[in-house]
């Protein structure tokens, strides 16, 4: 194991220990903040996979969260479908829709792709508002919860397990040949095609996989909050996810995840400052994009590692006797 890998492993172990001990250290309010942070972390990781690795700039992830949540919620509420089956159905629908969006957007790049996905998100949100008989419209749709307990602890550990599973699966994916092809397409589609990569297939796969993880997060989160409103898939929410991933570092799954957790906790901690906290985050986001394109957390970790390497030994090595 190299020094860098050892440091990463140690950091992950500490993070895992803190995450496991967290429910014992906080009240129910902060526990629910923790659950929300874990939910956003899964969505931010899925966005990082699509944008940071595959280079497909999409604003559609929260629409897929919404799709996963409403599919599972409506199936459970109206057809008494078991919740796990409903969540699977939501994931499948998100994968199919993601594939469809990817196919329609095959010739779109950069701002055009982003605008298309914004339009898709808004159309989906407006459908949810308009079809109030089924979706409950802006009044919300009550759906059964996953656990009938007073404490949120089961939800917390469930989301922690979901995040761990998501990161492991995505980590395996980005280290596989698929991950290599995603990055090649991000860097240069023409060169990737000339190198034999089936660009269309892998662009569609990236959309499908990212949409599936967003649908998974949405499905579980819907049954946690137990009341769904169309705003969950709004552009505002998507902007928040983008800010989380960019501040953390969109080209690293772990950095995007950490960014989501950090931003969610800071947003709650600074709640007393009302709208000014959003101004603060906007400024941080602008500075990140300008000065630390790989994200603030990635920059902080690199700087810390550099400092550790430069620090002279506190005690000079003894001469051999």
């Amino acid at each position: 194991m190299t020094g860098k890998q050892l440091r990463q492993a140690a950091l992950l172990l500490v993070a895992a220990a803190v995450a496991l001990a967290f429910p014992g250290m906080v009240n129910n309010y902060w526990l629910s903040v923790g659950i929300t942070a874990l939910f956003y972390a899964i969505v931010a990781a899925s966005w990082a996979l699509l944008v940071g690795y595959a280079g497909q700039f999409s604003f559609g992830q929260m629409a897929f969260v919404s799709m996963g949540a409403y599919t599972s919620g409506a199936l459970a509420r109206y057809l008494d479908v078991p919740i796990p089956l409903g969540i699977l159905a939501g994931i499948a629908l998100c994968a199919l829709t993601g594939c469809g969006i990817g196919y329609i957007c095959l010739r779109m790049r950069g701002p055009y792709l982003a605008l298309f996905t914004v339009a898709f998100s808004e159309v989906f949100r407006i459908i949810l508002v308009s079809e109030a008989e089924v979706t409950g419209g802006n009044g919300g749709l009550e759906i059964p919860p996953l656990f009938h307990t007073l404490s949120d602890k089961p939800y917390y550990y469930l989301f922690l397990a979901l995040l761990a599973g998501t990161l492991i699966l995505m980590g395996l994916l980005v280290r596989s040949r698929w991950g290599l092809f995603f990055r090649a397409i991000r860097e240069n589609e023409d060169a990737a095609a000339a190198a034999g990569v089936k660009v269309v297939r892998f662009r569609l796969l990236a959309f499908m996989i990212a949409a599936s993880f967003a649908g998974l997060a949405g499905g579980f989160f819907g049954h946690y909050v137990a009341i769904l409103t169309p705003d969950i898939g709004s552009v505002d929410q998507m902007g928040l996810v983008v800010a989380m991933a960019v501040i953390g570092g969109a080209e690293s799954l772990l950095a995007a995840t950490a960014g989501a957790i950090l931003v969610e906790f800071l947003l709650e901690a600074l709640r007393a400052y009302s709208e000014w906290r959003l101004v603060l985050f906007a400024v941080v986001l602008l500075l990140t994009v300008r000065f630390a394109r790989n994200g603030l957390l990635a920059l902080a970790v690199q700087s810390a590692a550099r400092l550790v390497r430069r620090r002279p030994a506190a005690v000079p090595a003894r001469e051999p006797v």
């Binding site: 040949r177 290599l180 092809f181 990055r183 090649a184 860097e187 240069n188 023409d190 060169a191 990737a192 095609a193 000339a194 190198a195 034999g196 990569v197 089936k198 660009v199 269309v200």
Partner: protein, 238 residues
């Protein structure tokens, strides 16, 4: 002998402009063909159509007798047709090894260990072996040209289209690239080389194809073509 790659009546229109007009071109195994012509004569458009990067408006492309026009570039790559680009196209923020592994692992039934071994062999051949963990964006212009050639070699291509391999390259490196191409040709690979560097092209190839205004105006041995009056008129205004 069946051509390795053949264009029949290849035409490309961009709106009202005809960039390539009814081009016939057959390249046989073992040939080293130079494709030259003034700016805007349709050389790169021809390469783009013969490697799947552009869909022809009319005409056909055959690879070893199999019709392939309109197929994506990945199919041409699978048919062992490799290429480099006029403006070097690398995966800039990926290491040299990763650049090489993309085509290596895109091949059907490929294995990472074998692809890595092949990549190291090619990087060594190109003099880039010590830089395999460096990101491609940190290479010099000439080294980037070499890496792009190496990446194309990872397809184990039967034919390689090189689009301006000497553009922006210093004379020393140009001679090195010529030597590399000659070695690869001696090993049995077929080349079509597009370049404005007539001197380099004439030293290198055994057949010259000249294009002007989207048409092929000459095709033959270097000595014959370079003294062709129509070529002199179109190319040098003589």
């Amino acid at each position: 002998m069946e051509p390795l790659i053949e264009a029949r009546g290849l035409t490309k229109r961009f709106g009202g402009i005809v960039a390539v007009n009814g081009l016939d071109l057959a390249v046989h195994p073992g040939e080293l063909v130079g494709l030259i012509g003034p700016n805007g004569s349709g050389k790169t458009t021809t390469i783009n159509m013969m490697t799947g990067h552009l869909r022809p408006s009319a005409g056909e492309v055959y690879v070893r007798g199999t019709r392939a026009d309109g197929s994506p570039p990945s199919r041409f790559a699978a048919l062992k047709v490799g290429r480099t680009f006029q403006i070097t196209q690398l995966f800039s923020r990926m290491t040299l090894m990763e650049n090489m592994l993309v085509p290596g692992l895109a091949r059907p039934h490929s294995h990472r260990a074998e692809a890595t071994r092949q990549a190291r062999l090619h990087l060594d051949f190109l003099g880039l072996a010590k830089l395999e963990t460096l990101q491609a964006r940190h290479l010099s212009g000439g080294q980037q040209k070499l890496l792009e050639l190496g990446r194309a070699l990872m397809l184990d291509p039967d034919i390689l289209f090189l689009d301006e391999p000497f553009a922006g390259v210093n004379p020393f490196l140009r001679d090195e690239i010529i030597a590399l191409i000659q070695k690869l040709h001696a090993d049995g690979r077929t080349f079509v080389i597009v370049d404005h560097d007539i001197e380099a092209i004439q030293r290198l190839v055994n057949r010259l194809v000249v294009m002007a205004l989207g048409r092929k105006i000459a095709d033959g041995a270097v000595d014959d073509v370079s003294h062709d009056p129509e070529v002199l008129r179109a190319y040098a205004g003589v």
